[in-house]
Amino acid sequence: MKSFLFIFIFGLFFSLHAGVEESVTTMMANNSQKVTSILKDKGISKTKQDVELIKLVDPLFDFKLMGTLCLGKATYTALNEDQKAKFHTVFNKKIKNSYTGKLHLYTDEKLEFEKAKIVKDKRMILQSYLITKTEKKSVVYKFYEADDKKWLIYDVDIFGVSIVQTYRNQFAAALKTKSFEQFLSELNTDAI
């Protein structure tokens, strides 16, 4: 009886976590196919393609969390509500443009996914490889489990370069010498 109870509880615990990795992997593979078909659709303009791409990727990412992480906890909490709202508007636009811009680079390339792995509580990573004509490049999606049990992306390592870490370093450096308003206006334009 005791053994049965033990196996039941142990099994129940793992069954709660099992299956999530497969569903995230399948979802991302399906999403990748949809992205490719949009990119290959020559019948629609690039602007229209971008709108469609954003519709596809928007539900997968937590852009608000990404923005907060890029700014760093101390800086973010020191902002007032108006500054936070402005920052998120500018950052969302910037990151979405940046992401769709990168998708356009790899129209003919294939993205291969390994099975997602839970690395710790509420964190999962999905290793994928971008297969170009001459290279195999690593792209790692980092997910967290949001309060509504949805798994959302909070960072992507493109060829080992973390989007969040790179912005974070840049934002920290910019805010050392510039006011928040100056920084925001630079972020709102293509700075270089």
Binding site: S3, K73, T134, N169, D190
Partner: protein, 241 residues
Amino acid sequence: MRLVFLFLIVVNLSLFAADADDFNDEFVELKREPFDPLSGYNRVVTNFNDYVFMHILDPYLFKGYEYVAPEVVRSSIKSFFDNLKFPVTFVNNLLQLKFQRAWIDVERFGVNSTVGLFGFFDPATTWLGLSKSNEDFGQTLGYYGVGGGFPIALPFLGQYNLRDLAGGLIDTAADPVYYQDYRQYNLSDNMYESWGIIAYKNFNEASLRANEYKEFRKDALDLYPFIRDAYEQNREMLIKE
């Protein structure tokens, strides 16, 4: 039995225990200011390289080259040079004790040099699924714990750090593209010819990555620290691989 049960429950709980608000901890460690004694020089060189790229290479030289050599030709030329780099990747895989990868390098070199027509094609990847290694002596040094040292930007060649620059110089001893007087196998007859081949090899490779560079530079608020940071993160991943 009760003990085992309790132990497993505790292990489970600790494995999946909620550690709230730890996102910041995942990124905080890299936030330190890097040691960069040449930052002034590096910044000038990076801006120079970017200017040459954006105003000379991309609009004129790459455009002309792409006209005479379509992407499929340029990719084949890159594959040819990648195949020639076999001694470098093979030796570095051995030095990093990656024996299986080293053997794959041998298989790849054998297949691509013959069936792949001197390496211009890559049937080892496309037919046999034997993917290419990307190993160099900079990574070997990193594998054994050697730190990057300070960053160095080189005109036309781009971003390095001290470790990878030293590693790159050592790799030239095994790379047939670089002329070495003492060696039996050289692609060129003398050093000048060798420099010409290296310049062409780099030019061909850069032409394949032109759009990538133009897209990624848009993410920079300040170009030099952005490139330095991305370079270091990329190298760190390659060393860990």
